[in-house]
Structure formats: structure tokens, C-alpha cells
Symmetry: C2
Subunit: 385 residues, 2 copies
């Protein structure tokens, strides 16, 4: 297991890089409100974000360390990070839930006419009430609020070795749990029981928590990949798929594994072969200088050569502090791949009506060939009793 | 275990109640973007919300059933709900990620000059990119976008018996897991291992998943209540606290339990007594006609009578599809309590510097006395070896 947390120097480097990008973009401050964005610059790691009650703010000024503007309930934990300027209020406070404290902080750090960047683009959310955001803008009438999505994407999409080690650890944990699926899944086991026991295996193998588990089971394939489990027992002829995002030290893995209850049907074997080869093609194409679209195209070519079976959509995505991140492996995403990007390869086939098969692996872009972070799925579908 | 899901009639009733409140508020449509809001009107239950990539929309018109405007990856699951009008697009689509489809839908259902309500107030988040929200407003230049927080609060804060049964089930699951803490926690066990094993117990006892676990351990009390676990081993004299939000069928419990490693110190025993009595006072005050502030005041009076030990802040909150909901048990929240409200009672004491004790129980307001949903904590701190 890698050690936990990152050094103050790591956070200082991230902050300096952000400030370089901010200078190029003409931004006087960043305003961050989401869990991963705040954690990226501070190391503030808590499951308390599950409570939607309180807003949390981090201001990254043009120079110097970030300033936390947070509910007092988080002060003790924030004091353990490298952040020294911590401004708190007693939340919830319906009349003024940190807005005036935040406005004062932004006004002082960015100036009354400052350009304040916040994530407004794809895959981002402003995690504060919309009415409070309007109040903030009224309190800083001469400030300009601008989209800073590109600043954050450019920083976060390339992982440090310490970050990669955490994702690799999450992948290894899931790999050990997947290897133990025969202990918990056989003909007659209700799918909901498999889901429950698989989460227990992930924890036993070292996951801190299990934010995501989906999957499905059905004769020769499954109907969709986002449903919760039902009580239907597994039956011979089913394909079982489990897809997990388990977390280690705040970083996700995201990959799936398929199992056949007894020998698979002929068209399932064919689909498995195609998806295995598609993933191989994706891995081979995953080199610096290629684009996200090149990986999509490499996988799609294998799928198309096998007939018109593609399930469409994107065939993978970024991975890190979030279960899914930019870029997207689609035909149109021209993001250039650079070493340190962690990606999923996720080709899917529609075998028949309501019958899908999805493969997924996690890789990191390296100089030369990509490195697998998930233990490679076997070429042949593993069989369960 | 109660059955899962709700009947189409339940959702139709919720929709009709929303439409009555919308009519009073002069709203022609509701626009919902968050997991609990969309699930409340549809039954769309999936952990796929963990992926921040795609936005999801539900439009509740002034009359008739809601209309889903969602990524096509969710269509199969949405088709299993009572929703019949499902409009999809292939997301992610950076150029237009559902915005024009949503604008067309809202324009048709609310009219070009319609008043569109969305949650903008306390404890709400708009779960779509801010830039897309701006595009939506530009596409409907004559529509008015207004705060609908009160409409949703008024509906969701009073739970049906079917909802209460789910929260009660989650509470019972956690109660069985808490009863088994002596199996997993003793002097020498690292706190991180206790957290891992406790999540496994919750799953084994029937939780679908465990979105929240926090806690702490320290000599005679703990320093804060939102930190993740560290590797420090439990030691004699520690107080261990575990606070969980486990989920059954999409509904949370939220309560904690305290344990003493060996006999507790005298001031810990005193604090335990005060908090037990404060919780009793909160239960006794929890009747229809009282306000959230009355419950706060009843608990605070016990704490104040024992000296100036209060940790301050709110002393409880609503509970349901979210770990924390409105109202807040604070001195200023005048929300009247009505039968069907599910609340936490959560008094806290500062025993000394960096040493807290927090109690928590879950109750539902009934005609007459409130009903405990969590198995009542024992008066004396249970001891671990």
C-alpha cells in the first residue's frame, strides 16, 4: 500500500501550476466549491460531502496559498492540511450561509474588479445554492465571473506518480476482489446478494469505501449497465457483470469483469473475443501524441470489422478523484494524450435485444506503451458454477 | 424487509401534490436536476449519479405526468418506472449536452413565457454545468426562472408510511451492525480497520450500500466528527464513535454510537449522562405543533443546566433520501413539526480541548409521542475490551 496523503510540496506545486494557467487566462482568483476541486489543492478528504446541507469554498489567489472559507464543523480537519488561512462561519445559517465571508475574501484577494474563475463547463457543477451564487455576484458587482474549466482540466487530467500509485492500488484491490467472485456467486444466488457480498470483498481487500457498484446478469448478456441489483437468482446460461468504482485514499478504480454461469453461448463467446481484441487495440493505440478519438477509433474499428454490433457512445474516459473524468473516448474528442493521463478502455457490444457485453480496463499513458493498472481480464470468459 | 420501490399511484400522488403547490406559487413547470429530486417523482434509482459526466433532467408540468430528458444510457432503467415520456440524447455531447432538447421540452410544456421553478435555496444544488444553464436561459429568453425550493421542501419533508418503513429498515440494519461492534473493535485494532469492518457488517446485515461512515477515537473523547479513519490503534481509555448513513432502497439512516475501551473516565460518564438526558428531552418535545427550534431548545436546556459544555451548532436535522435534510434543529428554525417528519436528534458536548462526545438518534414525528426509528442507545457507555 502506498502512504496516504500528499506532501505540502505537492500541493504547492499544484497551486503554482494553477496560478501559471490563471495568469495566462487573465484570472485573479479561482473559486472552487466541489469535493475533488477543493481536495486537489488542499488534501481535505472527508465523506462529509455526502451531506448536502453546507457549502464549502476554496479561493486560489493569483499568488500565495489557497484560502479556505468553510463551515466551522470542518475547521479541525482543514487545520491538518497545509492550508493556514482558514475562515469559518457557523453553518447552516439560512440568512447568510458564508456568502458575505466569501465575498469579502474574494474582494480582498481578487480586487473589486477582479476576474474570478470557476468551473462552468462540461462535467462540472457549482456546489452552492444558485440563490447564494446570485447573492455573491450582487456583493461583488464589478467583478467578472468567468469559466475556468480549462484551467482545472489541464491540471487534473495529468496525474502525478503519487496519484497513479493510489489509482493502481484501488485497481489491485478490485482485482483481488474480482478473483474471489467464485466464492460469492453461483447459480441460485440472488443478484442483490452478489452485489452485497462483492462490496464486502472490496472492503476486505483494502478499499476505504465503495462509492460505485453496478452490473447486471441475464441469459447470454445483460440489459443495461447502470441498474441496481434485483433479487433474481443467477441461473445457468447467465452472463454476470460487476462494474465497480472502489476508492483508496480518495482515488477511484473503474473497471468491470464478466463471468459466465456454466459454458457461455456461442454468440457470447464471439462478443467476448471481439471486446478482448478491441481492448487490445485501444491499449496499442494509447501512446503520447495520439488523441482520445484515436483510441475510440482503434476500438471501434475492431467492433465494426466484426459486424454492426457496436453499442455506440463513448468507449472510455478519464479516471482519478472522480469515477469518470474528461477526456471522453469518442469520435470527436481531440484531446492529445500525454504521459500521466489515466483512462478507462470500455468497449461495449449489443449481442441482441436487451443483451449487452461490456469490457473495461484502466491504463495510464506512459512514454512508449501504456501501462495497465487493472489486472488484464482473461481472454476467455471465466465460468462460475 | 419492506418491499422495494413505490407504486405508480404513489408517484402520481406526489406529482399531483407538487402541481397543487406549483399552482399556488404560479409555476408552469418544475425543472429538476438532482438525484433525490428526480427519484422522488420517478423512482429512478441508480448509483450511476456517482459519475459527474452527464446531466439528467426531469420536467414536472402543471398537469400530467413528468417528462424525463436524459442521456440514452439511462433509458432502459427509466423505462422500468412509471414515466412514459422519455426523451434522450447521446451524452456526453460537448456541443449540446441535452440543452436544446431540454429547452424544447420546457418551451412546449411551460410555454415560451412560462414560469419555471427550480431549487435555488438552502441545501440545493443545480446539477448541470453553469454554462449550460446560461445556454438554457438564452434559449428561453422570455421564460422566468424562479426558486422552487419551498415547493420541494414542503413535499419531501413529510414522509409517507412506505418511506418511513425504508428509513426504519436502514436504522434496524445499522442497529444490528452496531450490536456487533465488539466483534471488530478492541484495544490494538487500527481505527481504519474498524471502519472497514464496520462497513462490512452493515452490508452483511442488509444495507444496499454505505454512502457515509465517519467517526473518531481518542482518550476520553474525539477531536472532530467528519474525519476519515487513520491507522492509530484503539487504546484503553479511548472513546470510539461510529456515525453511519447506510442505505436501504434509497433511504438513509443517520445515527452514531459511542463505545468505551475499558471503563470510561469520570468526565466521560458525566458527558454521556448529559447527552442521554438531552436526547430524552428532545424526544419528549418532538410532537406535532412544536417547531424545530423547540427541539433544539429542549436539548440545549439540558446541556446548559450541566454547565457551559455545549459544542454549539445544530442539534439535529431532517433525514430521508439524503443523509441530511431540512429542517435544522437550531435556535432559529421555526419549521412546525408535523406527523411523518423524520428527524435526527444530535446533541454534542465539548468535554475538553479536542475531546467531543456526540449522541444521535432517529425519530419520526407521530400524532402524540414521536416514534424512535433507531434502537435507543443504552444509558451507560458500552465497554469494549
Amino acid at each position: 500500500m502506498p502512504s496516504r496523503g500528499f506532501s505540502p510540496e505537492d500541493y504547492a506545486v499544484r497551486t503554482a501550476r494553477a496560478q501559471s494557467a490563471m495568469a495566462l487566462a487573465g484570472l485573479d482568483a479561482l473559486l472552487l466549491t466541489s469535493e475533488p476541486d477543493i481536495r486537489y489543492f488542499t488534501g481535505f478528504l472527508t465523506r462529509f460531502w455526502e451531506s448536502p446541507t453546507r457549502p464549502w469554498f476554496l479561493v486560489v489567489p493569483a499568488g500565495g496559498a489557497p484560502v479556505a472559507v468553510i463551515p466551522s464543523i470542518g475547521e479541525a480537519l482543514m487545520r491538518r492540511t497545509w492550508i493556514r488561512d482558514i475562515r469559518t462561519w457557523a453553518s447552516p445559517a439560512p440568512e447568510d450561509d458564508g456568502v458575505s465571508l466569501l465575498a469579502d475574501t474574494l474582494g480582498a484577494l481578487a480586487g473589486p474588479r477582479g476576474h474570478i474563475g470557476l468551473p462552468m463547463g462540461a462535467e462540472t457543477v457549482l456546489r452552492m445554492p444558485l440563490a447564494d451564487y446570485a447573492r455573491l455576484r450582487s456583493a461583488l458587482p464589478d467583478a467578472r465571473f468567468r469559466d475556468a474549466t480549462a484551467v482545472l482540466h489541464s491540471l487534473q487530467q495529468v496525474k502525478s506518480e503519487a496519484e497513479i500509485a493510489r489509482i493502481a492500488t484501488a485497481c489491485a484491490i478490485a482485482g483481488r476482489a474480482f478473483a474471489r467472485v467464485p466464492e460469492i456467486a453461483r447459480a441460485g444466488t440472488p443478484l442483490a446478494e452478489v452485489f452485497r457480498r462483492f462490496q464486502m470483498l472490496l472492503l476486505e481487500e483494502g478499499a476505504d469505501w465503495v462509492p460505485y457498484l453496478a452490473g447486471g446478469a441475464g441469459p447470454g448478456g445483460y440489459g443495461d449497465v447502470i441498474s441496481p441489483a434485483d433479487e433474481r437468482p443467477l441461473a445457468r446460461g447467465d452472463v454476470l457483470m460487476l462494474d465497480t468504482g472502489a476508492v483508496f485514499d480518495g482515488y477511484f478504480c473503474d473497471y468491470d469483469r464478466n463471468f459466465s454461469l456454466g459454458p457461455p453461448a456461442a454468440d457470447t463467446v464471439t462478443a467476448q473475443d471481439v471486446l478482448f481484441e478491441a481492448t487490445e487495440a485501444g491499449r496499442a493505440a494509447a501512446r503520447p501524441g495520439a488523441t482520445a478519438a484515436d483510441l475510440h477509433d482503434a476500438m471501434q474499428a475492431v467492433i465494426a470489422a466484426a459486424g454492426d454490433l457496436g453499442a455506440g457512445g463513448r468507449l472510455g474516459h478519464g479516471l482519478g478523484m472522480r469515477l469518470t473524468e474528461w477526456p471522453s473516448l469518442t469520435a470527436t474528442d481531440r484531446t492529445p494524450l500525454v504521459p500521466g493521463m489515466v483512462l478507462t478502455l470500455e468497449p461495449a457490444l449489443e449481442i441482441g435485444p436487451g443483451r449487452m457485453l461490456v469490457h473495461e480496463e484502466n491504463i495510464v499513458i506512459r512514454e512508449g506503451a501504456a501501462e495497465l493498472l487493472s489486472p488484464r481480464a482473461p481472454r476467455a470468459l471465466p465460468e462460475l458454477e
